[in-house]
Subunit: 430 residues, 2 copies
């Protein structure tokens, strides 16, 4: 037995993982809790949804990443609350004591008060959602191929993506490439190139965090891929049949939501001020006010930055914060002190289909295929940090660059899949 302090980390996303890695091998006991058994490389999740990559290519079992770090325990479980006075993490009737706590619980999809839209327009935050979207996208083409009804066919081949941020742009571009390229020769009774892909944004431009010129380029590129971009078009309703944009109703079997995120639970747990997205407003050292041993990082934290803005909810920010709080905890234990957290913003990236991207590196703008390669290399660089073996990385690059056909599997309950599918026409050709 030892008198080592225990650091509990809730959440195995980019923030929680980078804190745990920094604390691995140090003289502390680390307990990492997540309700899933894997760390997800979320920036590529849209490629699972559009059947370009398999889940196992962008997710790794959390505990295998720490198998050689004997001071790190990984637990799969759901945290239901925090007792800050007694320094305990709660999970139903059970609890776990901590000396230091890092809350890296992330964000979930926000429907801005229309929670009933969740079932009609799934977001893209975890593997199950991504494979469900994949299944529904692919089933739409299968059902259209089998359908005799022109209205039904039209509805099946209309795809609406809500939200013009990076997620919406990436999804719309990838669906367009799926329909217009990957699937283009596979059907006999429909032409997948007839699919209509709409990207709907309430604001007056795409990629609001980027310079105007890159927003314009993104719009033109998407239109070149065959995406209809609708700006200034807030969604007013979503039903089983489709989407209402202003007064126009667009029938669509697939609506995908990429319009916003919020932080659940956390403000109830810590009982401290949060912003309107539910992010906890933390101190300059990322601690919760009045609790210098409790930290919030990543998408769950509101960290002041510049021009009145908060640090953006992107992977590099979460990683920097994870590393910072790990160091901060070690320094408190050692009686040293480090300066407040300072976010270093490298830039914003977004891809538009397979060979185009836009990048804004603090004013240095890049677009087109060169930006796409930069985007690819940046992601490889981040992947190295997660998954050490070089062989595995080479495999990933390989499969991403060279695989044409991808992971176009429809899996899940057979009954559900086959039920709505009718056989081909009963007329014999001839």
């Amino acid at each position: 037995m030892s008198d080592r302090k225990r650091v509990v980390i809730v959440g195995a996303g980019f923030g929680g993982m980078s804190a745990a890695k920094k604390l691995a091998g140090k003289n502390v006991e680390v307990v990492l809790i997540d309700k899933r058994n894997h760390h997800l490389f979320q920036p590529l999740l849209y490629q699972v949804a559009t059947a370009d990559l398999s889940p196992a290519e962008i997710a790794w079992p959390t505990r295998s990443i720490f198998s050689r770090s004997s001071n790190v325990s990984v637990f799969m479980g759901e945290v239901t609350g925090i007792d800050l006075t007694q320094q305990r993490v709660l999970s139903g009737d059970h609890h776990l004591d901590f000396d230091y706590l890092i809350l890296a619980t992330g964000a979930v999809t926000s429907y801005f008060g229309n929670d009933h839209w969740a079932a009609l327009a799934p977001g893209l935050k975890n593997i199950t959602e991504a494979t469900d979207i994949r299944k529904n996208l692919l089933l739409a083409f299968e059902r259209a191929e089998n359908s005799e009804d022109e209205d039904q066919k039209r509805r099946l081949l209309n795809f609406v993506v809500v939200g013009g941020g990076p997620t919406g742009v990436e999804m719309a571009g990838a669906i367009a490439e799926l329909a217009k390229k990957a699937l283009s020769e596979d059907f006999r009774r429909i032409d997948p190139r007839d699919a209509r892909i709409l990207l709907v944004e309430g604001g007056d431009r795409l990629l609001g965090a980027f310079p105007q010129s890159l927003s314009d380029y993104t719009r033109q590129s998407l239109e070149g891929l065959g995406v209809e971009v609708r700006l200034g078009s807030p969604v007013s309703d979503i039903t089983e049949q489709g989407v209402k944009i202003g007064d126009e109703f667009i029938p669509a079997a697939n609506v995908i939501w990429g319009a916003g995120v919020q932080v659940p639970d956390l403000k109830d747990w810590v009982q401290k001020p949060s912003d309107r997205g539910g992010r906890i407003i933390v101190e300059p050292d990322l601690s919760v006010p009045d609790h210098r041993n409790v930290f919030v990082i990543g998408d769950a934290a509101h960290v002041a930055w510049r021009d009145g803005l908060a640090v953006p909810g992107i992977a590099p920010a979460a990683k920097q914060q994870g590393k910072y709080v790990a160091r901060r905890i070690l320094d408190i234990m050692n009686g040293r002190s480090i300066p407040d957290f300072k976010y270093s913003h490298a830039g914003n990236l977004a891809t538009i289909g397979r060979h185009r991207a836009v990048i804004d590196l603090n004013g240095f703008k890049l677009k087109g295929w060169l930006a796409w390669w930069f985007w690819g290399l940046a992601h490889i660089y981040f992947l190295i940090g997660i998954r050490a073996p070089a062989l595995v990385m080479v495999q990933w690059v390989w499969s991403y660059l060279f695989r044409k056909k991808g992971a176009r599997l429809i899996t899940g309950q057979d009954k559900d899949n086959a039920r709505a599918v009718v056989p081909p026409a009963n007329q014999k050709a001839g």
Copy 2:
């Protein structure tokens, strides 16, 4: 419009695919129907169940395989019956006319009359079953890690595989390697090497279709991997709590069924004699008695062979039959005639873990690592036939040979996964 004859193929397994490939580009209209959208390389399905491979590594969208074959249409749909008089395939209220029909519907798991065991002891016939087994295997270790109850822990770490044929042998070996090797360093409160893996067989030896010496070798090899082999042990009951073998009750959270198969529906559809597994007893040209334009192939057919035996239900047999009936149909149309189907038996193969296999090539016996490499090369050879691009094949071999960590993801409904999981002990170490 043309006067081309229509060949309808039901089932996109090895038999149906090889018939469709043979007919691709010929002067016939081919319609291939399957309730799933993918062709599955079933011999490696157990590796999905034990988290060695991802679904997309052993399954490919059926229609993409025929994208360049304009005379082949692929439909995802469920066949509900056959009208032999009117020459129609039925699907609910719809129907599809045929001139020639190839029934390649395959087999499903048989519980020998105990159908309620299906929910307690899943078989291994499709991707959904494989990923469900994978999830439950991995969750058992997660739950054992979180458990404070020794009995519950024991039950979670007991794995019972029923059936000593190739599927049972492969599953038991792969679960042993998962527990004793891949997972061995990943947990802190349990030792996955304590897992108990039982392989239960009613007969007096494993791999009944192989020579006795290879059966003995297989048993010794499995025992070397830490598998308890129970011969002459028919299962008398399966409950939520575990398995009853004779009078002994073995608590087990995971029971996997690899004991038998049967052919559903087909004998009702064609109203002709079948064997006790439901396989249709076909003519020497694989046609259904009295219907020279309707053929049954693969696992669904009982084809007389030698020594009173039927052709075995293995992939090479189904492929030979698919090719044969395709040629037969072309010859009937051209007024030629070909000899009756003759099965060419190359041999039997089974793997025992990652570096051992047994092979019986018509009396020439091979075992150990050399057999394993032979097994690997044989599978690569078959894969070439399915998935043309060499790059993709290299990737498969690569990932199979070099990937250590595999696809150990727990996906599916979050609520179900996390609910039964409690957090770690509330005592602080120290």
